[in-house]
């Protein structure tokens, strides 16, 4: 069962990479045509791309190593184990911390959040977990630091944490409020 899933994942990854390569080919062709048509743009375009290539290639391998370490050393079921019951301020910070640790795109986190929901975890904690997963990752912050600078990265991080907490509480309040309303209606 597990092996089948793994194979399916790998096939999916292969399909994705082929799609990206095709898009890359199209972009390369467009660029070559543009640069032949406009020879005076050759120098600025190539110089800019080269600069960004260097900046990325100097940090991406390190970022990938960090992502790999998180992926292997932080077990996925840890999330459910720790977030199932905690609440209050401790729950808020735990939800953010636990969301910020594992890696992978956001859609991987949806089934985990669904499990949490079924286990009766607080809605605010689930929203916090998802938001942290989406945008408070350590390797991600490091890349932001590299390209946008310390001031930008820290300001955005602090503001994001504050507003994500507010949002989580609002969503929980709305969900509970609409449930109660539904409950009353059903009772009548």
């Amino acid at each position: 069962m597990k092996r089948q899933e793994k194979q399916k994942d790998e096939r999916k990854a292969k399909k994705g990479i082929i799609r990206d390569l095709i898009i890359l080919g199209i972009f390369l062709a467009i660029t070559v045509i543009l640069l032949i048509e406009f020879p005076d743009k050759r120098e600025p375009v190539i110089a800019t791309s080269w600069d960004f290539f260097l900046e990325m290639i100097l940090i991406l391998p390190a970022v990938m190593v960090l992502l790999g370490l998180f992926a292997v050393f932080v077990p996925k079921n840890m999330v459910v184990k720790y977030l199932g019951k905690t609440s209050g301020i401790k729950g808020i910070f735990l939800a953010i911390l636990i969301g910020a640790l594992p890696t992978g795109p956001l859609y991987i986190a949806f089934p985990i959040a669904a499990t949490l929901l079924k286990k009766g975890a607080r809605i605010s904690n689930i929203i916090l977990f998802l938001s942290a997963w989406a945008c408070i990752k350590i390797p991600q912050e490091l890349v932001e630091l590299q390209f946008l600078g310390l001031q930008f990265m820290v300001t955005r991080l602090i503001l994001t944490v504050i507003f994500v907490i507010i949002m989580a509480l609002i969503i929980e309040w709305i969900m509970k409020w609409s449930e109660n309303k539904g409950g009353v209606k059903n009772a009548v």
Binding site: A13, G16, I17, D20, L21, I23, L24, F27, T31, L34, K41, V45, T48, S49, F52, L58, I59, L60, P61, A62, V63, M64, V65, L67, G68, L69, A71, V72, F73, P105, Y107, F110, P111, A113, L117, L130, S131, A134, C135, P139, Q140, L142, V143, E144, Q146, F147, L148, Q151, F152, T155, R156, L159, T160, F163, V164, I166, M167, I171, M175, S178
Partner: protein
């Protein structure tokens, strides 16, 4: 080579050494995962690099700043915010793209809105989110995330 590059690489090396001491097998597996993800992201990285080159080479900064610069106001910010929600690229690659926009005349507000909506909101993955979490919660999360992304963006624009 600038300080950030050295810091990031040092963190990665130290973390890996600690992992190696803790569990050799798992550390090796991490490297394998890292290698695979790196190869997986490479084509998209080159696409982004080409887009950045074309953007900075062909689109005059006046054009970019007209649409999403300081004077463009709320509409420009909403526009990039919406573009961010529809884009389905790894968050890691949104930062160089954002940096290139900033370099070519976009405002801090617009760039912050772009990154925040891109990482937090996924229109492409919304059907999956609805399936797993229910319509109400998924729509609330994505909708309110957009609102706070715009608020965060304007505060950033005011501070920085």
């Amino acid at each position: 080579m600038d300080a950030t590059v050295i810091v990031i690489n040092t963190i990665a090396i130290i973390s890996f050494l600690i992992a190696l001491l803790k569990d050799k097998e798992k550390a090796k597996k991490s490297l394998l995962v890292a290698g695979k993800s790196f190869i997986r992201i490479l084509p998209m990285m080159f696409i982004i690099i080409i887009v950045i080159g074309l953007l900075l080479g062909f689109v005059p900064p006046e054009q970019i700043s007209k649409f999403i610069g300081k004077q463009s106001g709320i509409w420009g910010v909403l526009l990039v915010g919406i573009v961010g929600t529809f884009m389905f690229i790894p968050a890691l690659l949104s930062f160089p793209l954002a940096a290139s926009l900033l370099e070519s005349g976009a405002s801090v507000t617009a760039v912050a809105a772009f990154i925040t909506t891109l990482t937090m909101i996924g229109v492409v993955t919304l059907p999956l989110e609805i399936k797993e979490l229910g319509k109400k919660m998924a729509l609330l999360r994505n909708g309110l995330s957009f609102v706070i992304a715009i608020i965060i963006a304007f505060i950033m624009g005011a501070i920085l």
